[in-house]
Symmetry: C2
Subunit: 228 residues, 2 copies
């Protein structure tokens, strides 16, 4: 499904060049549930942005379902994201002055979903993350953890093939974190959705079937989670 | 030092009114180290914003060093924040297109600190959070955890009397989280800085001397941490 071949990402040039990613090789099959871990600044979000077709490598190739994403133009990449990918950003990226419900309807509007069905799907997604009583609140009228949950719901509302979640439980208390992880597990096991999730918490990573650990822009280890 | 008396915060009116805080009474002495905990949406950030003089209660009073903050005008509140308070926001609130170093110099510019001294203090604060090699990166060129650490450094750079930190380790891996908590402990024990910190992680809260737990806008418990 997803294949990174010898991918590097370099910011800046010469003396001040930063290798955010260095010769990354990783392959993810449909239906997998992968946790990406590693210290702050080790390259996790950079890789997620490339996998989510939001950014391009400096060198190397990224194949999404066999398609070389580097060979697509902007519109084709946008179409790919819209139809196959749900992305939960580390910084949420919600529209602050738009309501929770409208934030969820946006990806559906882009897909041409009719209004009645859009509203229904958005309400269901919001209910899944426990925020039915906050439908009309704007993003700036929500707590940090509530905004995070709206961002999660937005990634699921289009029923994508693969969900990329960059630290989706960072602002949630323990009970809500586990609720969200149970939700991801259900989507993965019952609907076959591929999940790639960044976390720095071991008990969140415990839900995943495979652990990829980063260190200084490289993959330090890639192992199956045998404790599941 | 800090005293909330029967403080409530209500958003909206009538049917859609939300009591973010309900009859809060809490007193914090100089030199304390308090952890604020509780589920997502339970009122923690709302209380922090009132304590940090960024927001006002709907009813009740807030006394900072004996001064009724509600009786101050905007400029007087800004002066209070500038001179006594360091605030780490749950959403960081850095200037995205400004370098890490410049973000740190901003509070010092407001205090009229001379340029040479400003630069020196900013560099030292950045070193304390392990980001000396990222001085010239703009906030948008930093990872999530690096941005969080710049936000922490900015709260310390003016050597305030009290630091309010709203989930300061949410985006940090375990090793860096403990480094930051050791830093807070040192500031508290060696310099007597009062620390009020929101977290939803028990092993982060373990560094604090007192635990205040929120539930639905009320304080459910307020206990000393005897395990320290
Ligand atoms: N401007 C606003 N208008 C309406 N409701 C609001 C507004 N700001 C906050 N709220 C509500 O007040 C409640 C408390 O919010 P607060 O941000 O204090 O929670 P929190 O404990 O910090 O949560 P988290 O752990 O998720 O950050 C939430 O239920 C939120 O929806
Ligand atoms: N636009 C940029 N210009 C220069 N350097 C950058 C840029 N964006 C990211 N970096 C650097 O690339 C490295 C990797 O960043 P990345 O965001 O992938 O880390 P991360 O593993 O997600 O960290 P965190 O856990 O803190 O979110 C960091 O050291 C960061 O400073
Ligand atoms: Mg990141
Ligand atoms: Mg909060």
């Amino acid at each position: 499904l997803l294949r990174l071949i010898n991918v590097s990402k370099i910011y800046g040039t010469g003396e001040s060049a930063v290798a955010a990613l260095s010769h990354i090789n990783v392959s993810i099959q449909p239906g997998e549930f992968v946790a990406i871990m590693g210290p702050s600044g080790s390259g996790k979000s950079t890789m997620m942005n490339i996998l989510g077709c939001l950014d391009a490598p400096t060198t190397g190739h990224y194949y999404f379902r066999g398609v070389d994403v580097g060979s697509l133009d902007r519109d084709q990449r946008a179409l790919l994201r819209r139809n196959f990918i749900g992305f939960v950003f580390q910084g949420f990226n919600l529209l602050k002055r738009t309501s929770a419900l409208e934030n969820l309807e946006l990806p559906l509007i882009y897909r041409g979903t009719p209004r009645g069905e859009r509203h229904e799907l958005a309400r269901k997604a919001l209910a899944l993350v426990g925020l039915s009583d906050r439908e009309t609140h704007t993003a700036s009228e929500l707590s940090g953890g509530q905004q995070q949950r709206v961002a999660i719901a937005r990634a699921l509302v289009t029923k994508p093939d693969v969900i990329f979640a960059d630290e989706p439980t960072g602002n949630l208390d323990s009970a809500k974190s586990h609720e969200i992880m149970e939700l991801f597990r259900t989507l993965n096991e019952e609907q076959g959705i591929t999940i790639v999730l960044v976390t720095h918490e071991e008990d969140i990573a415990a839900y995943a079937k495979r652990h990829v650990r980063f260190m200084d822009g490289r993959i330090a280890s890639d192992t199956l989670n045998v404790q599941r």
